[in-house]
Symmetry: C2
Subunit: 973 residues, 2 copies
């Protein structure tokens, strides 16, 4: 996690903003690179330079190995007392480190260059140079590392600052703030010592707010603060060079402060992504020099709606920290435009130029000092999913600014002529780039309920967006009560400090889950995602008191009792008090456009898993090119059907079973017909019955309970005897491990009459539609195959007889095609309709003998859920409830393998199978219908593995389309 061994020889550690290469973010950090870029574009940036991340790595090098080990130990989440010891050890080590040889010489040389540029002098009594010392790693780690402002102030230069600004109050206020900041950050003094002292002084001068303290008070504070530093750290360095050296060290050290370490662990920021921080030394500019000054942030497009206009806010007469403190309400960009029209144009021009060059929406920090604009940073903007999609599409279709305005900006030199013309004429990015810009998960968030943007609700806390969707519910603090209340028809949100396996019944009862502790891979997060409940986790400001059955919000005067309504937004991680209106999603036109492009760029087909016509309709709307998996099982949920199905299962001989099946078939045939009709012209894969049969029977324990209850009530004997018979049958059918028991094709082999009847119902549905002039594309899928002979058997004894019998029934010619698993019906007027027979590949052995199986089928569909279970020997139900969350927390597994395909194990089997199968049957159609079909990472893998399509749940169809396109585009790169 820390820094590598240093190269021998003298090194260039320091670069003026004029000389670095802004593309090298790893060397200069994100902030440094942006300052370099803006400087080299001629945009108004205060003079300064960057100390490279290499310098920081060399700083750590002498003890790096030890530090890496300690971080590894932290990674294992030791108990608190151990953790504290490790952290103390880390502090001890990093406090002993020195800056690498020669670094301060280079810094001095470059500081002199800045002095030359600005005409100011470091520590000067007349015109002192003040600088900020800012951290900046290759990736943004907001708030995690340290920054020191106004460095260079001392008892001498404060006078210079007063002269310069003609404002003694301003100068001493800056000095006071600098002392406090330096004491806290560089010298690690407890900040409270300063704030307490400051409050004393404010009291003494009867000041309610800071600005009311007179200059004397500020001077007194300066003296008192120096005393504190004297006492706690042996004195404040009046030498600005000493200050600078200490501040650079402090920033380097901040890379290893515990919150930064944990942030990196949590966000998986490994050394190959960002290794140590750069340091940026920038001439101070002041936004708090009066009402013609101020500080703000501007986005080149609206990061919430995606609208193509300058967006942002500006706080006049303020420094960055004032914005954060939220003392005054900043003005919006429209007001800013009215007040500073020139600055607005200059800012807009700069933002659009940066957008054009960086090919993304920009988030620009700026300060205005006495009417002059300075840009302090630019970066790619974080946006809402909506804005992300909208901007990506607009940037790929329209010029970023209209001609007229561009001409105006060029004329004012706010845009260079060449780039300006291009900006007015051409789209900023290509369609391929647009498709690659949108994260597939963003699309999902556009499809889930979200907080109504018109609601103007203010969140009271923020956690991690663990599972998408916004939902309101009544707070409950324990899972048993959640179940109880849910039974009463209440919508409840389960609120826990953290959750454990014993709580899972509460998850099912709740509409959402909120925890105050834990990361994206905590138990709560994993389970919530697994069962699709909106969830916010690790909302640390939520302080729960189980004994009182309340929670408070840290820093706010809010108390929420059990039963009170709250709203959580799993898309953003926000928590709201009360019922906040949510809106159902609608597909914006830009999303539609994006998806069309994605369709052009992808090779993988995308189908949907859908069991009922409503889902199929939804899937078709979301662009599914067929049904990749229709599970018959869901059709038996209706009580009258379940009744008949139970007769099938409980039948003690073939005749009874056949009779019950005859009753069952017409019931489901209509469903099949509807599904095929909704997807008319597109393939529909219907799976023969898969789950263990006893899943459709009452649980033996329930029956036993019923029997005894009846006995105790003295119910009639026959009634009890009937129940006892049922109990006996159910017990006889019960299996030790139903997941690996008498199910799937094994039922088809032992009771071919069941597979025959089900196949017949499907084929009749298709035959009926053919008669009606429709174009059904039925694909019959056999599940759980482990041996080629199983498929041969059920084809011969169940499916082919069904095909033949229905053909006779409808007077179609039945054609057995030359290709394995291909059949067709030919109508009297010569139309031909193919019906395919294929198999689900969900046992390990099917993967290992894929070449044999491929000889007998038209298609494969990987059932990666069961395959993952078999590969790991993990029963999903048991694993997700009992040990998987802990496995992910301990990083024994990198992710839940039921969500993201385990490429090392399961993936290897998939690759082997595809390769072997396509070799013997090149026409074989190969898809995947497990849950992984909707997971972008997994989709990328399936693309590379050479599959033909993925099938995802309807809501994930768009994700899949996008991810498939991205996989293909990435591969082409």
């Amino acid at each position: 996690m820390v820094c590598g061994p240093s190269n021998p020889g003298p090194k260039k550690y320091v670069y003026l903003f004029e000389e670095g290469d802004w593309r090298n973010k790893k060397l200069f950090g994100g902030k440094g690179a942006s300052l370099i870029q803006m400087t080299q574009l001629g945009l108004p940036v205060p003079p300064g330079f960057t100390i490279t991340t290499e310098a920081c790595r060399d700083f750590y090098a002498p003890r790096r190995e030890e530090l890496d080990k300690l971080v590894k130990e932290l990674e294992r989440q030791p108990p608190p007392e151990v953790r504290d010891k490790i952290i103390a050890k880390i502090w001890e080590i990093i406090n002993s480190l020195d800056l690498p040889d020669g670094l301060m010489d280079q810094v001095r040389e470059y500081m002199h260059k800045i002095e030359e540029k600005t005409g100011k002098k470091f520590g000067d009594i007349e015109n002192p140079l003040l600088v900020s010392v800012r951290s900046g790693a290759a990736v943004s780690m907001p708030g995690m590392m340290d920054t020191v402002l106004n460095l260079g102030l001392n008892d001498t230069s404060v006078q210079g600052l007063a002269k310069q600004t003609n404002n003694e109050w301003f100068a001493y206020d800056a000095y006071r703030r600098f002392l406090q900041m330096f004491g806290k950050i560089v010298l690690s003094i407890n900040e409270e010592l300063f704030t307490e002292k400051w409050e004393e002084i404010k009291k003494k001068y009867n000041a309610k707010e800071d600005p009311e303290v007179p200059v004397e008070g500020l001077k007194e504070a300066v003296e008192e603060f120096k005393k504190i530093i004297e006492k706690e750290a042996g004195g404040f360095p009046q030498d600005p060079w000493k200050q600078l050296e200490m501040a650079i060290k402090a920033v380097f050290r901040s890379w290893m402060n515990p919150r930064a370490i944990f942030y990196r662990l949590m966000n998986n920021i490994t050394p190959d992504i960002a290794d140590c921080t750069a340091v940026n030394i920038v001439t101070m500019v002041f936004g708090n020099m009066g009402w013609d000054s101020g500080t703000g942030v501007a986005f080149s497009r609206d990061p919430a709606t995606g609208e193509n206009k300058l967006y942002g806010e500006f706080l006049p007469n303020a420094q960055g920290e004032d914005v954060v403190a939220g003392i005054r309400t900043p003005m919006n960009i429209e007001e800013f435009k009215k007040k500073f029209p020139e600055l607005y144009d200059q800012l807009y021009g700069a933002a659009k130029l940066l957008e054009w060059l960086n090919k993304d929406v920009q988030d620009v920090e700026f300060t205005v000092e006495r009417g002059k604009l300075y840009l302090l940073q630019t970066r790619n903007a974080k946006m809402t999913p909506l804005a992300r999609v909208k901007t990506a599409v607009e940037m790929a279709t329209k010029p970023a600014l209209d001609k007229e305005y561009v001409e105006k900006l060029i004329s004012k030199k706010y845009l260079p002529e060449k780039e300006g013309k291009l900006i007015a004429e051409k789209p900023t990015i290509t369609r391929e780039e647009a498709v690659l810009k949108v994260k597939p998960e963003h699309v999902l968030q556009l499809l889930y309920p979200r907080i109504d943007p018109k609601a103007k609700a203010t969140p009271v806390a923020k956690g991690l967006p663990a599972s998408p969707g916004a939902v309101s519910g009544q707070v409950v603090f324990d899972p048993d009560r959640a179940v109880e209340w849910a039974r009463e028809g209440k919508k409840v949100i389960l609120v826990r400090i953290e959750t454990k396996p014993d709580d899972v019944h509460g998850f099912y009862a709740a509409v959402g889950i909120l925890t105050s502790r834990g990361g994206m891979t905590s138990h709560a997060a994993v389970v919530a995602r697994a069962i699709g409940k909106p969830s916010v986790v690790g909302a640390e400001d939520i302080v729960i008191d189980y004994s009182k059955r309340i929670f408070r919000v840290r820093g706010k005067d809010i108390e929420v009792k059990e039963g009170d309504w709250i709203t959580i937004d799993g898309n953003t991680g926000y928590v709201y008090i009360g019922k906040v209106p949510t809106i159902e999603p609608e597909i914006i036109p830009e999303l539609d456009t994006l998806m069309k492009w994605a369709d052009e760029f992808r090779r993988l087909g995308v189908r949907a898993n859908a069991d009922i016509p409503e889902d199929a309709k939804l899937a078709r709307k979301f662009g599914a090119e067929g049904i990749g998996l229709l599970r018959i099982e869901r059709m038996f949920r209706k009580p009258e059907r379940l009744e008949v199905l139970r007769k099938v299962i409980l039948a003690e001989n073939v005749e009874d079973r056949k009779k019950a099946l005859e009753e069952l078939v017409p019931m489901i045939r209509q469903d099949f017909k509807e599904m095929l009709e909704v997807m008319d012209g597109l393939p529909v894969v219907i799976r023969l019955i898969d789950p263990p049969l006893h899943e459709f029977l009452p649980a033996p324990e329930e029956l036993l309970q019923e029997i005894y209850e009846k006995k105790m009530k003295g119910a009639p004997k026959e009634e009890i005897e009937k129940l006892e018979w049922l109990y006996k049958r159910v017990k006889a059918l019960k299996e030790a491990n139903p997941m690996m028991g008498h199910r799937g094709v094994r039922v088809g082999v032992t009771y071919p009459e069941i597979y025959y009847a089900l196949a017949k119902a499907m084929v009749e549905a298709a035959a009926e539609l053919i008669k009606e002039g429709k174009n059904p594309k039925l694909e019959i899928m056999v599940p759980q195959v482990a041996e080629a002979k199983e498929i041969v058997f059920v084809k011969k004894h169940a499916i082919e007889p069904a095909l033949e019998d229905v053909a006779k029934e409808y007077g179609y010619e039945f054609i057995v095609k030359d290709k394995p698993g291909h059949y067709a019906y030919k109508t009297s007027d010569g139309r031909e309709y193919e019906i395919l027979v294929g198999t689900m590949i969900e046992t390990v052995r099917a993967c290992l003998t894929a070449d044999e199986i491929a000889k007998h089928v038209a298609f494969f569909s990987f059932g990666t859920n069961d395959l993952t279970q078999a590969t790991f020997s993990f029963s999903r139900d048991d694993a997700e409830n009992k040990f998987l969350p802990q496995y992910i927390e301990l990083e024994i597994l990198p992710a839940n393998p039921f969500q993201t395909l385990d490429t090392k194990g399961v993936g290897k089997l998939v690759e082997m199978a595809v390769k072997a199968a396509k070799k013997v049957n090149p026409d074989l159609e190969v898809g995947i219908c497990g849950e992984h079909g909707g997971d972008p990472k997994s989709i990328e893998f399936f693309h590379k593995a050479g599959l033909d399509y993925v099938s995802a749940s309807p809501f994930r169809v768009m994700i899949a389309r996008l991810a498939a396109a991205q996989a293909n585009l990435k591969e082409k790169k």
Copy 2:
């Protein structure tokens, strides 16, 4: 199953015994080859020739494809009405076939050669040549195909025969028999027509037995039989050439008669093993020409005891069919020797010569015609396991005959000089050949109880020996009653026509299983073998009447009622009435010798799976080189231990769990110590706890029942509440699929304290023995690993801490060796004891990531039971009870994959894993401890896959040693 396309051009279909190559059994069949061999050795064989199997293949060629299809359909076991139609179709086809072109020309040419040799003439009135027409395929199919004797008799030649033999009665009796045989076999006439007519004639002449019928009666029978043939088949061919042609056809056809087809299906005789039958035309010799004639069979050694002496029997004045009919009791070989000392020597010489050349005990058929010996066939003898072992070892250690006797035989020309000398001086076979001769399963039979040979009991029926062991029990006809009676302490044998999955509870209750229907792979056979119960299946003479609760024995006046005692012998397939004494096995010295040789020849190590000291002692006695698997679980069967283990499992926090573990450890430590002590100096692999924890808890249903029963009885409230708490905990721990649930290393990861405590108990046991001067070789095994990080975690958090703590406790130096998973304790006097840590490879993912896992462990042990479950997605319990027997019957699977390794699937994983693992860790020790470790076929596979050892149940250790040697010897060939 039938015969391939014919090659173009004229073919040689017919070979004199003098000209064929006797090694080519595929071309000449077994009988033909033996006649050829004996003829070419100069042994007395009646002149004759062989028609090749190729001729038969060409006979079938024109319709072969159709026939193969029909056989395939039969293979699928269609319902009876379908089966009958298929059989009728087969008959229709084969009756339409003609002999291949040119065959009869060649036959005629060779018949003339025989005429020349014998001076007899086919169909002659003076000195007619009579021949037998005998089938003979590459493998023996006893009684399955047809033979015609005395061919060449007609109204003319019968007179010739009478003259030749000077015995009119004899000639007409032969003619009568020939007509009946020809009618039945060649013309397919119902045999009853002949026997009824014959009975009529016997009545007419007042004859009780056949010999009492006078010549007139015989002549009358001949006329009547010809009439029957006239009526049924249009006439008897007087032309002997016509007879011959028809008989050859009939023998060819008999290859496809239903009983032959089913025999081949049942015994897996595929075309690569035997494809069509040869036909042997042999000059008739008559054993029924008086008291200086006769027929017999001789073995070159005793096939029951293995004793090295001529063994056999002889029926004077009789033909082969008389022996079968059992009219008179044959004389034993001693009597024969007394009566025919010369013939005895001649026969013994021939048998030993053939034994020497064929390197196996010979089973010789012979006939004596008027004092002259003729050999009609020789083949390798079928022997009892005892004899097989004894003869194999003796043939490899001692000369087959003593010098003196050999010299006598040489002088009499009963042995050629060269071979004779060798026979007297050298062992017949090498030790390697001896080891290859004994089937590993035979060894097993020597270890199971068998019928006391002194008992002189006569079996009443014979079925297939489905599962070894002899046992007596009371007959029950239904599984429920079996359970009931077993509960009452009775020993019962379950007798069923056939069994189905619903009967399995009866299997467990019974001491043995007998069925009247089904083959070696029928449900009953598969399940009986799976659970280790002696079983005889398919004993077709047992006629069961469920309604009367009796069985009768077909053809015998025996009725057995429910509750009567019977004895079955699963080693031989015999069924006895009453209690027949059985004897426990003892290891014969020859077995010991054989095993020593096997140990020299094998590369694979052999360990045993044993959980208790008694088993370990047995294993050591049987030659195990260590314990390959000690399952801790069995140590918890004792109630007081189970009690404490339950505390561990039910504990609601770490402290309670640790406390309970502290109680548990001393209890099992002593067991570990005993095991290590029994195996002192040999490795003992102890597996950390593996099964799902709730297996040790009461079943929730039982608890529920108890709660209600108590409630109904008005038991005290606290008692019920306690049970209710337990019920709730048990339910919370219950899993949907425990086999893939919270078990094995997953328990070690989530509750490291459990693995720590168990590891500590093992290590303490070893430490204690070290202190006592013993040499324990502990190997700690982690089960269910699916990911390398699991093993890393439990090593670090459980096993290594245990090793360190025990080292401190005993004052040993704890050494972490350079090789992964290798540790050692060093005593103060410098002795060093290695302790290894390894993993069971029983998940698919462990196989797929074996290279990663191998970096962290000293050994792998394949758990092929669980691996088979995971590869097939078959839960063994459920599969063997619900569908696996049917799978094997339908030949969807070739064998129970839990008994014989599925090389296509599971084997592929094993190979991949071994290869990948040894690449990164060449020192890795790789074994297998699943049930397959005791299965010869599987052992051969493991040998080839490069494993280091197999571990089998104690009783299978010898099998494993032998199979391992055979695998190595076969490979070297």
